[in-house]
């Protein structure tokens, strides 16, 4: 195997297992490993890729695809993506299998009931975290509120909503209102 691919896998696979709470937890380690330890790219280049990863859809962990691409092209991107998702997915797989095997036990019912309010809290906390990170302006808040109502009460498609919002923001930008 290409030594660069192996190096990518050896960097990202262990980080996968310690990414408790998701991708944000390991961004600092990814930066250290790729910039300081391996010297694959400069700090400025890393910041640039980080901005792309935030802009793109999907989990923020996808930054490893860009880093892999930077180091070893398409196969680098693929190797890095598999390395960051496979180990943690195996942990999830075995945990979920164990969980499903214990269906119907009173403990499991209590755990599901107990997890419910925590999940509600995590959803709202997640929305608040994005609002804070984006420094949302009044237009953004209004758009978020209208979208929330539309999604709650109608079956409007996500694509229609994205299209409408992009048109709205383009218009606001054109008339220098935003």
């Amino acid at each position: 195997m290409d030594s660069r691919l192996l190096a990518l896998i050896l960097v990202f696979a262990p980080l996968s297992l310690v990414s408790f709470g998701g991708g944000q937890a390991i961004v600092a380690d990814i930066q250290y490993q790729t910039v300081e330890a391996h010297g694959w790219l400069s700090n400025a280049e890393f910041a640039n890729l980080f901005a792309v990863a935030r802009a793109a859809p999907g989990p923020s962990t996808m930054i490893v695809a860009l880093l892999g691409w930077h180091v070893a092209g398409f196969w680098g991107a693929l190797a890095a993506t598999i390395a960051i998702f496979l180990p943690s997915s195996l942990v999830m797989y075995f945990s979920a299998s164990w969980w499903h095997r214990n269906a119907g036990s009173p403990w499991r019912i209590a755990i599901e009931r107990g997890l419910t309010p925590i999940a509600v809290a995590l959803v709202f906390a997640g929305a608040l975290a994005v609002m804070r990170a984006m420094h949302m302006n009044p237009v953004g808040l209004a758009v978020a509120a209208v979208c929330a109502l539309l999604i709650y009460f109608t079956k409007i498609s996500a694509y229609a909503m994205f299209g409408a919002v992009i048109a709205l923001y383009s218009g606001l930008f054109y008339f220098q209102l935003i």
Binding site: W69, A96, S97, A121, G140
Partner: protein, 224 residues
């Protein structure tokens, strides 16, 4: 989905529902709605592909709920909230863990694999694409403006799902359970969302407490 107990041909029509519910798990992964036929693997793949395409700006869990619960009717609220909390607690990207959990719930290990592939493939393709044109895109100020609009939609989706989950949280429970659950949710939200305490330790304390309270409530109001 046929077995000695569950075979619909052997069961009188009025007993079908009960029998299907009480039947043993068919492949180790009990389904949410045992009366329905299993979710086709291709549909599962397509659904998560759609989520992968729409999940801009951090609303992946919300779009997952919209697609699988609202649009397809494949999963219940309990399944989603359990999977969501698991996916946050265990290592790994939360949306990927959630897809794996729900895919496994619907169609076992293969379902989990296809769910992850469906979710990650569009995200992978798009991030490479955006990476290639980013230097060109970032030269235009409108890029940042449009991205903030996209993020606002993601926040809207998340808020709407939060509201739906809150509504279901309170459904069909005794008054005491409603009050207690609301207090637990509020305290956890204040700790993680407002105080910005780290998620893992807060969840590590809140989950066992909440489960023990749920067990105690079950003693006071069985099935409440």
């Amino acid at each position: 989905m046929s077995g000695p107990v569950n075979d619909p041909a052997r069961i009188p029509a009025d007993n079908k529902k009960t029998a299907a519910r009480c039947g043993p798990p068919q492949h180790g992964f009990p389904m949410d709605n045992s009366e329905k036929p299993p979710v086709p693997l291709l549909d599962l793949l397509i659904s998560f592909f759609r989520v992968g395409l729409t999940a801009f700006g951090g609303g992946t869990a919300a779009w997952t709920y919209r697609e699988l619960a609202d649009r397809r009717g494949w999963i219940t609220y309990e399944t989603f909230s359990t999977g969501l909390t698991f996916s946050q607690v265990l290592p790994g990207a939360n949306p990927v863990n959630l897809a794996l959990y729900l895919g496994m719930q619907l169609r076992g290990g293969l379902g989990g694999f296809l769910a992850v592939v469906g979710l990650v493939t569009p995200a992978f393709a798009l991030i490479i694409l955006i990476g290639l044109v980013y230097n060109w895109l970032s030269g235009y100020p409108i890029t940042t403006v449009l991205l903030s609009g996209v993020a606002a939609v993601g926040v809207g989706a998340t808020l709407s799902v939060g509201a739906k989950l809150t509504q279901v949280l309170f459904a069909k429970r005794a008054l005491l359970a409603k009050i207690v659950q609301a207090l637990i949710a509020l305290a956890t939200f204040l700790a993680i969302g407002v105080m910005q305490w780290p998620t893992i330790p807060v969840v590590a304390v809140a989950v066992p407490l909440s489960v023990l309270i749920a067990l105690a409530l079950e003693r006071i109001h069985p099935n409440g």
